[in-house]
């Protein structure tokens, strides 16, 4: 197991290195002055030029430049944003928690609704129930997320006026950021409007979270259903049934834990699509997260923001997907047996 973990760590480092190399090459191809693309400083003074040249070893060879780039980026120096003149790292720290909050709520929603519905679809003998669940998931899987977001906000936000459709919280509330997660911060704050601020934050997160949850929800339902269908045929389930266990107990104790393994695996595979969707959802609902920040960065050709955003988001996704793979191996003894995958 230690060897396996070391290999995964190795993989993480190697992939991150490749990612940074890609960014390094892309940075040199950006259609602007190279120094500006690296640091985001518009018209540097002669001292700054000397400093940048020294920092990024611009007068040396490619390899040396790459190691310098690597050093700068890994030490947290992502340059300054050309539009706001703030260090990119600080902006990143501000926007990341909002994205995690949205993604977390959406993922929890998807799992909480998806797993029971998947189990239901697999157990139901009724053709109509089965077909309608499959039809719903297939539609949900095919729906373009930006259109879904617009339609939901048009309907629930404008026509019915039930839910707010933009931002994270009403601007009237002033919440001191502690953790960065607004749902927690509102509860932690000591103002007298604590509860109403919390309700407001919850109301703001409902629409974006539902929009974002549709894709993982449909995938979870389908995977759970397929896994449950094949597991309920297994002999150990028949043995459990023969011993006289109730169906609910068989499902929860014996079948579901095994059905969740492929769900976990597919969550890892889904991360890329999920984060693409999250970025679009953030743009539609003006959610102050990393996706909206990155998209506005590309509109303004803010090259340091683009680099910093891509670097951080891709690193987080690579890390999470490797983490999920490790968890998958840890809880699934069968995959540990596949020697060619681990050695």
């Amino acid at each position: 197991m230690t060897r396996y973990l070391l290999r995964r760590l190795n993989l993480f480092l190697a992939t991150s290195l490749v990612l940074i190399l890609v960014l390094f090459v892309a940075t040199s191809r950006f259609p602007v002055e190279h120094k500006f693309a690296l640091t985001g400083i518009h018209s540097p003074t002669p001292e700054q030029v000397a400093q940048i040249t020294a920092d990024y070893r611009l007068d040396e060879g490619n390899l040396s430049q790459f190691t310098a780039y690597l050093q700068q980026r890994l030490s947290g120096n992502l340059g300054v944003s050309a539009t706001s003149n703030q260090p990119v790292f600080d902006e990143l720290v501000q926007v990341l928690p909002a994205s995690f909050e949205l993604a977390g709520v959406a993922a929890i929603l998807a799992l909480l609704c998806g797993i029971p519905l998947g189990v239901l679809a697999s157990l139901s003998k009724n053709k109509i129930t089965q077909h309608s669940i499959m039809a719903i998931t297939l539609t949900g899987y095919s729906i373009p997320v930006f259109w879904l977001g617009l339609t939901l906000s048009l309907w629930f936000g404008v026509e019915l006026g039930w839910l707010p459709i933009s931002g994270q919280i009403n601007l009237l509330y002033e919440i001191e950021p502690v953790t960065g997660f607004l749902l927690i911060d509102t509860l932690l704050s000591d103002s007298q409007y604590r509860m109403s601020a919390f309700t407001d934050a919850v109301l703001h997160i409902i629409l974006p979270a539902i929009t974002l949850a549709v894709l993982p929800f449909t995938v979870v339902v389908r995977i759970t259903r397929t896994a449950m269908l094949s597991i309920m045929e297994e002999t150990y389930i028949k043995a459990a049934a023969a011993r006289g266990l109730q169906t609910s107990k068989i499902v929860i104790r014996h079948a579901l834990p095994n059905a969740l393994i492929p769900v976990l695996k597919n969550m890892g595979l889904m991360l890329g699509a999920f984060s693409s969707y999250a970025m679009v959802v953030e743009v539609i609902f003006a959610w102050p997260g990393v996706g909206a920040w990155l998209v506005s960065g590309i509109y303004q050709r803010d090259y340091t923001v683009i680099q910093g955003g891509i670097l951080s988001v891709a690193l987080i996704i690579i890390f999470l997907s490797i983490l999920i793979e490790v968890m998958h191996t840890a809880i699934n003894p069968i995959s540990r047996k596949e020697m060619y995958a681990t050695s």
Binding site: L19, S142, W147, A273, S276, V283, G309, I310, I317
Partner: protein, 296 residues
């Protein structure tokens, strides 16, 4: 009277015919196939049957609702947008941009992915492991990030969508084909063929490939639906097709300004995207259950 089989030989359907029968037994999948065929025809012939050109502006018919609305006219079947452009014609003109380009991207990245995946799948040891693990990680980089990077380097535009979506799709194909080939390679019938003296190329093409084609087909349908959604999302974010283009995602983003007064400018292109992706997914689902040997 019981049916008597007067022939000595039974007609045993070929595997292809059996798959086709299993596929055709599913009415939803079959309907999906018809819709996909219709979309392909529209992608090719759409511009010829469109009543108006994509950029033709009718100043007398601004923001006209669809024809089933009391205020709408049959001249503009699906209504017009804020510049008086006929939405139905724009949808027809956009079909080859969204749907046709998705097909093109998928086939290009399928060929690249097939070659690399097959080579890395046939290899063993460190080389194969490096390739497959690097690809695993590449796969986890979202297509939108890839697109943003491409746009940052090359600027927005429809041709760059090709690269962005293609680069994001290729690892999926490589990975799926790599895994399928690798898995088949462990099986004993492959060893038997090798003992018979087949060289690696023969093992690959005549022994392994017949068992991998179904994965290639399923992956292709998945890829097409992902490509349509990606192209449309890029068009919506203004990173792909630019403003006057009738690409469906760009049409949604152009309709955004009039979302409250004229919701059909957003709804109708969205429905078009939904229908095309849904049809592809229905076909893909039907194929998957027709190809899987275990029948429920």
């Amino acid at each position: 009277m019981p049916q008597v089989n007067i022939y000595q030989e039974d007609d045993i359907p070929s595997p292809m015919r059996r798959i086709w029968h299993a596929f055709a037994d599913n009415p939803f999948a079959f309907a999906g196939l018809w819709v996909v065929c219709a979309f392909i025809l529209l992608a090719v012939f759409g511009p010829f049957i469109a009543p108006y050109s994509a950029e033709a502006q009718d100043p007398n018919a601004l923001l006209l609702p669809p024809s089933w609305d009391p205020a709408g006219t049959v001249d503009h079947f699906l209504g017009t947008d804020d510049l008086g452009r006929d939405i139905f014609s724009r949808l027809l003109h956009g079909a080859h941009l969204t749907f046709g380009m998705a097909l093109g991207i998928v086939f290009a990245s399928l060929i690249v992915g097939f070659v690399i995946g097959a080579i890395s799948g046939m290899m063993k040891g460190l080389k194969s492991s490096i390739l497959s693990h690097l690809l695993d990680a590449l796969l986890s980089i979202p297509s939108l990030l890839m697109a943003i990077l491409v746009v940052a380097v090359m600027g927005p535009g429809l041709s760059n969508v090709f690269w962005a979506v293609g680069i994001a799709l290729t690892p999926q194909f490589i990975r799926a084909i790599h895994q399928a080939v690798h898995e088949e390679l462990q099986k004993e019938y492959v060893t038997a063929a090798r003992l018979d003296g087949a060289n690696p190329l023969q093992v690959f093409w005549y022994v392994i490939m017949p068992n991998v084609w179904d994965i290639v087909i399923i992956q292709t349908t998945l890829g097409i639906s992902a490509a349509i959604l990606d192209i449309a999302a890029l068009g919506f974010l203004n990173l792909g097709a630019q403003a006057p283009s009738p690409e469906w995602g760009a049409m949604v983003s152009q309709g955004m300004d009039n979302l409250l007064t004229a919701p059909w400018t957003v709804t109708i292109p969205g429905v078009a995207i939904l229908c095309s992706v849904l049809a592809i997914n229905l076909v893909g689902d039907g194929l998957r259950s027709a190809l899987s040997p275990i029948k429920h």
